[in-house]
Subunit: 332 residues, 2 copies
Amino acid sequence: MKTIRASIIGFGSVGRGVARTLIQKEDEIKKAGFEVKVVGIADSSSGIVDPDGLDLEEILKHKDSTGRVSEERLSGIEIIENIEHELVIETTPSDIQTGGVGLENMRMAFSKGRDVITSNKGPLALRFSELINYAKANGSKFLYEATVGGAMPILNLVRETLAGNEIKSIQGILNGTCNYIISRMMEEKAPYEQMLAEAQELGIAETDPTYDVEGIDTASKLVIIANSVFGMDVNYHDVDVTGITKITPEALMLAHDEGYAVRLIGEVKDGTLKASPRLVPLDHPLAVGGTLNVAYIQTDLAGDITVSGLGAGSIETASAILSDIMSLYRER
Amino acid sequence: MKTIRASIIGFGSVGRGVARTLIQKEDEIKKAGFEVKVVGIADSSSGIVDPDGLDLEEILKHKDSTGRVSEERLSGIEIIENIEHELVIETTPSDIQTGGVGLENMRMAFSKGRDVITSNKGPLALRFSELINYAKANGSKFLYEATVGGAMPILNLVRETLAGNEIKSIQGILNGTCNYIISRMMEEKAPYEQMLAEAQELGIAETDPTYDVEGIDTASKLVIIANSVFGMDVNYHDVDVTGITKITPEALMLAHDEGYAVRLIGEVKDGTLKASPRLVPLDHPLAVGGTLNVAYIQTDLAGDITVSGLGAGSIETASAILSDIMSLYRER
């Protein structure tokens, strides 16, 4: 059986979800004709390596009790550079301003000819074509289903399941936090601030919600879709973005009376990218509530395909990463 | 470039849709690293072969004007037996009683070691495990996305995009005709017979609607899902089936007042298969209207995934067949 040596760089909720998933799905992965041996793990302050394979249970326990994966100061990029392995699972937090450490990690991985599977939107929203070309030039594979829509399958769906179709447009609800807040504003006829506070209490919105509610997260995902599915060469600054902070319950009720819901819709169509609150007919597939993500894909042959699923969550995002791992390495 | 020699057996609306799609998507297929050369085509009364590749445009014209693909009496099974080719695209009509000519075609294809891609539910709903095992024993590949849900991706979605997930249950609206009739009965507060007549006028229901409205079509698709996704070994007779003919508009309105829609739901769960009218909350992903097909997939990692699309149509079904062709032969 083929052994894929992997590192997990970033050991927050997603990275730990990946580790748990690799433990849980060891048999399923073997059934697909390979095994994954994790030879390096790093969080922001420490790292640990073992060319013979790390004990994931042990490291998860250590991280839970100490907040670190080890007592050794070893960075992700050092692991990527110096330890022999095939796959870098890059799960550091998104930095949409500069691409952050994730961008450096990916560049290093490609320079060493390693494959990269990531949940980190920042580098892709800023430097998609550079990264894709760099990966290609070094013979590295590069997959990033987890950057868009969590467990909602979209990139792999278009690539595998809709193969051969021309994709005409994609519209989607790509941020569960915004969708929760808008849905609840309508249900409770309550102002934005009140439902934001509720979402924060429930852990659905962050203490600083800017990234979600200003549409930045939606725009980042849209850029990844545009580059990946439509072969465009755009970055985050090419998106026309409006967030949800100016929406009033009165506007939502007015729309509802006319048979519409208001949703923060990301759209790639006719070469332009737009993320903004839009009116959606109440019986349209995009008019979902709660924290769901949904994508509405218009194609030339298959007609209109809608897919929805949970857009966030540690295990759900790890599931998208597992889907990429399977896609890259399984026997066919 | 790899050349895949193919036959199209059955040249009704799906077979012709496949031919048109192969013409239209020649470049996309080449981009995936192979080309498809159709070396044989048969309908129910005639056949035509050319080891150097048939002129699909020409044959489509001939079929349109004469109702036959050629003037030669040559059967599908003769083509499958005697012409050298890799792939049989089996698009003859479904026979749910005996499996019909489709079953014989598939057996012959596997006996010659050829791959089969099909839209023909009958043989799979009756003799799934026999066919799968026979294909395996002969080194043949066997894909059948088009048998379930037309362009709505479900089998490939589960296999490729949700790879590694345990599928806990699948519920779906798998028959667009029934869904159209029930949706319209509610909208118009009209009896079954009236909306059936409307559906027949629009070409959505057949003159003899039994196969759709009695739930037979839904049950057949369910069997294919159960065998394929859940690894069960069941056939059409193992499904508990109730159709939609006894539903009254009064029952629909009563349900609606309580916040429910009535839908013909096919369900595979806990090892049992059931196709019957069920109450679905109005805001549930399964509560779609019109001729859409939808599947609601419960998984262990990815949570609940919903996918919907057009369940029928010549080009939509051909799209599912193209998706299988890409999945089998493309370069990775």
